[in-house]
C-alpha cells in the first residue's frame, strides 16, 4: 500500500499601509512606501529580512532536496503581491523560486493575485484577480495552475462549484472536523454539487506540529525530529495522503533557525522515502492518484485560521466589516476611472492582511495576531487603512466621481 506526503507551502507578503494620517489624505497618495529604517510597515525592509531568514535558506535546501531525491515533489502558492515585492527588492529570491520550478517537480497553485477576500464580496473582481495571478505565474514560472486555493483557505460549497466550473483539477481546504465529521483528511474527496473537481484537505494536526508547535519546548512531543515524524506517518495505516499545508515562512521565520526547523526539512524526505511505497506528490498528482473516498458538504465557510476556523479573524468585528464593505462599495467607481495606478492601489488594499491587523480577538488567537501585525494595536491599523480609503475617495473625487 502506497502512501504519500503532499507538501504544500504558501508564500505571501502584503503591501502594508504605512502610518498614513488624515493629513496625508489628499496630499500624498502613497500608502505602501514607508522607508523608515527597520519600521514594521517598511515593506522593503520586511521582505529583505524574510528573504534572509527564510526564503533564501529554505529554497537552497529545497533545491538540494530536489536534486538529491528524484522522488521529492512539492507544491507552492505564491501571491502576486509577494512576487512584485521580490521583483522590486529581492530578485535573487525570485530566481531561487524559478530554479525550483525548473526541476519540473514543483507545482504552483492558483489563487487571487492580491490575496484578497474578493470571493465573498465581488465575483467579478475575484475572477479578475485569479486571472491576473494566472498570467503572472505563466510569465514567471511557465506553468498554468491546475489546482486552486482561496485566500486563507477560505472554502465552502460555492467556491468548490466555482473552481469546478473554472476547470480546476482540485481545490484545497482545511480538514476541519466540523466539515469532515467522522472522516479523515488523509484521503482524496469530492465536493458536493460538483462534477469533476477533487478536494484536498489539510491534516491540521500534522501540519501544525511543524508550523506551530515545532519549537515549543513545552509541547510533549518536543523535540520533533524527521525520524519521529516519519515514524508517525508510517504508523498511520488508514491513509492515502498526508496533506501538510502551511505557510512557507514556517521555515526560518515563524520557526527560527535555532529551533532546528531546517534540519527537520533537510532530513524528512530521506527518512520518509526510506519506507516501502512512500512517496511525495504534488497537489494535482495527489488528485489524480486516488478516486474520491466520499463527497464532502461545506455549507459554511471554513478557513485555516484560529480555533474557530472561520472568517472571524478578518471579518469578526465591525471595524473589519465596515472597512472591507467601504472598499468594495468603490469597485465600480474605481474600475470606471481606468486609472491603472488607482486600481492597483485599491486592489492592494484588498489584501486580507489589512483586515487581520484589525482583529480584536485577543486571547489565545490574539497572540498570533499580535505577532503578525506591524501596528501597535487593531485601532491604529483601522485608522491607517481608513485614511488610505479616504484618499482613494479623494482621488475619485478629483476624477469627477461624486463623494
Amino acid at each position: 500500500m502506497s502512501k504519500a506526503i503532499v507538501l504544500y507551502l504558501h508564500v505571501h507578503q502584503p503591501f502594508r499601509v504605512r502610518h498614513y494620517t488624515i493629513f496625508d489624505v489628499g496630499v500624498d497618495h502613497q500608502y505602501f512606501n514607508d522607508d523608515t529604517p527597520d519600521a514594521l510597515t517598511n515593506n522593503q525592509f520586511i521582505i529583505q529580512k524574510v528573504a534572509r531568514k527564510s526564503y533564501l535558506p529554505t529554497n537552497q535546501r529545497l533545491l538540494q532536496l530536489l536534486q538529491r531525491h528524484p522522488e521529492f515533489h512539492l507544491s507552492l502558492s505564491i501571491t502576486g503581491t509577494v512576487l512584485e515585492q521580490l521583483e522590486l527588492w529581492a530578485p535573487d529570491v525570485l530566481e531561487s523560486f524559478q530554479a525550483l520550478t525548473r526541476t519540473g517537480r514543483v507545482e504552483i497553485v492558483g489563487e487571487t493575485y492580491h490575496h484578497s477576500l474578493a470571493f465573498f464580496y465581488s465575483r467579478k473582481e475575484f475572477e479578475a484577480q485569479v486571472d491576473m495571478h494566472r498570467r503572472k505565474v505563466r510569465q514567471l514560472f511557465d506553468q498554468t495552475p491546475r489546482v486552486f486555493r482561496n485566500t486563507e483557505l477560505a472554502y465552502n460549497n460555492d467556491l468548490a462549484y466555482w473552481a469546478d466550473k473554472a476547470g480546476y483539477k482540485a481545490v484545497l481546504a482545511e480538514g476541519w472536523d466540523k466539515m469532515l465529521g467522522w472522516r479523515s483528511p488523509n484521503f482524496v474527496y469530492q465536493p458536493t454539487y460538483t462534477d469533476n473537481i477533487r478536494l484536498l484537505l489539510k491534516n491540521y494536526k500534522l501540519s501544525d506540529d511543524i508550523a506551530f508547535r515545532f519549537g515549543d519546548k513545552a509541547w510533549s512531543e518536543w523535540p520533533l525530529t524527521a525520524d519521529k515524524f516519519a515514524h508517525w506517518l508510517n504508523d498511520t495505516h488508514d491513509a492515502d495522503i498526508f496533506n501538510l499545508f502551511m505557510d512557507y515562512e514556517t521555515f526560518g521565520e515563524h520557526q527560527w533557525d535555532h529551533t532546528g526547523i531546517f534540519e527537520f526539512l533537510e532530513h524528512l524526505p530521506e527518512r520518509w522515502l526510506a519506507g516501502t511505497g512512500n512517496r511525495f506528490l504534488t497537489v494535482s498528482q495527489a488528485a489524480d492518484a486516488h478516486p474520491p473516498a466520499d463527497r464532502v458538504d461545506a455549507p459554511h465557510t471554513v478557513t485555516w485560521a484560529d480555533t474557530e476556523r472561520d472568517l472571524s479573524a478578518w471579518l469578526g468585528n465591525s471595524m473589519q466589516t465596515s472597512a472591507i464593505q467601504a472598499l468594495y462599495d468603490m469597485e465600480r467607481d474605481v474600475l470606471g476611472t481606468g486609472d491603472l495606478a488607482l486600481i492597483e492601489d485599491w486592489r492592494r488594499l484588498q489584501t486580507s492582511d489589512h483586515f487581520y491587523y484589525m482583529c480584536t480577538k485577543w486571547f489565545n488567537d490574539g497572540d498570533i495576531h499580535a505577532y503578525f501585525s506591524p501596528y501597535q494595536n487593531p485601532y491604529d491599523a483601522f485608522i491607517a487603512f481608513m485614511n488610505a480609503w479616504h484618499d482613494v475617495r479623494f482621488r475619485l473625487m478629483q476624477k469627477g466621481v461624486q463623494a
Partner: protein, 402 residues
Amino acid sequence: MLGWELPPHNSGGLGVACYQLCKALAKKGADIDFVLPYRADHGISFMRITAAHPQSVADVQRAGIAYDSARYTFTDGSAKNLDIFDQQALYEQGVADIARTRPQAYDVVHAHDWLTFRAGLRAREVLGCPLVVHVHSIERDRAGGNSGNPMVREIEGLTFLLADRIVAVSEHTKQLIAQDYDIPLNKISVVHNSIEPNGLDPLDPDNAYRYLAALKAQGYRVVVNVGRLTIQKGLPNLLHAARDVVARAPKTMFLLVGSGEQYFELIQLAADLGLSRNVIFTSFQRGKRWRDAYAIGDLFVMPSISEPFGLTALEAVGYGTPVLVSKQSGVAEVLRNALTVNFWDTRELANKITAVMQNDALRNELHAGVYQEFQKLTWDDSADKLMATFRRHACAASGAAV
C-alpha cells in the same frame, strides 16, 4: 501660585487658563511666583517660574493620571516608577522647601486643582498666609458624573474645608462643589475663565485637512470636537447622535481631535454604529493642525457630561465656528448665542446638529452672534475679581504677592 502645567507643556485647558490668568493678574500688579512640578523653558517674563523638583515634563507625564495603577520597574532592584500620588508628594515637599527659604515673601497662596492642594495646605502652614484654591475641575467632573477616585476626593474634600476661599471657574462648578462636599455656597466665588480675542494665532489660507475641504466643496459639512477622549467629555453620546445625524444628513463628517483612554472604545463604537466612513480620529494635535481643526468645522460640539468651563468652545468661536455645548458646562453660562443641550439627550443633540448641517444660514447667524460676544471677552474682569479676593484675604492689607 501653585500649578501643575503651563503651555507649551500643557495637556489641556488647565495650563492655558493658568497662563492667561497670571498674565492678566500681573498686569494688575500681582507679583507671582509660579511653582511647577517640572523644569522647562516657557519663555514667560511676567512672572517667576520655579520647579518644585528638578525633573522633566516627561517624568511627570509618565506618572499617568489618577486612574492608572502604579507602575514599577525593578531594573536593578531599586528603581521604581512614581505614580501620580508620588509625584504629588514630591511636589508638596518641593513647595514646602521653597516656602521655608522665603518665609516673608508672600501674601496669598493660590493653588490650582487637586494635584497642588496638599502643597497649598503645607505652604499655608509654613507661611502663615491664607490659601485660596482655584477649582478648574473636581473629581466628579473628571469621572464623568461618577464619584471617581476616593483618594482624590479625600484631598479635595479636606482642602475645601480648610481653604480660606474657594474660587470656581463657573456657577456649574460652584454648585457641584457645594453638593459634593457640603461646602457652604458663600465660601465659593465664581470667576469665569475667558479668552483673549486677539491672543489666538492666526490661520493660514490653506487648511491642513485638505480632504475635508474637498468634501465640503462637494456639499459635505463637518462637525468637530477638540478635547481629551475621556469619560468626562461625553463623546459616546456624540457618536450615538452622529448615527441619527448621518441617517438624515449623510454628507456629514465628524472630526475628533484628541487622545485619551476612550480612544479605542470610541473607534470601535463608531464602527459598531456604522460610522467608519464618517468619523475621523486624528489623535492629539498641536499648532496648525489644532487650529485648522476648529476652522474646518461647520459646528463645534462639546457634549461634556460635566465641564467646569470649556475653553475649547471659545477657541472654536475665535476660529470661525459656531458652537453647541452641553448645559452641564461653564461656558454655557458665558455665551448666549450658542446651542445648548443636556448631555444625556442624544436625540436633541442629533436634532440640533442636523439642523446646522442642513442649514448654512443658521450656521452663519449662530457664528455672527457668538463672535460678537467673543470679541468682548477678556481676562481683565476675571483678574479684577481675583485681585479683590486676594486683597480681602491677604496677610498684608495691600498685599498682592502670590
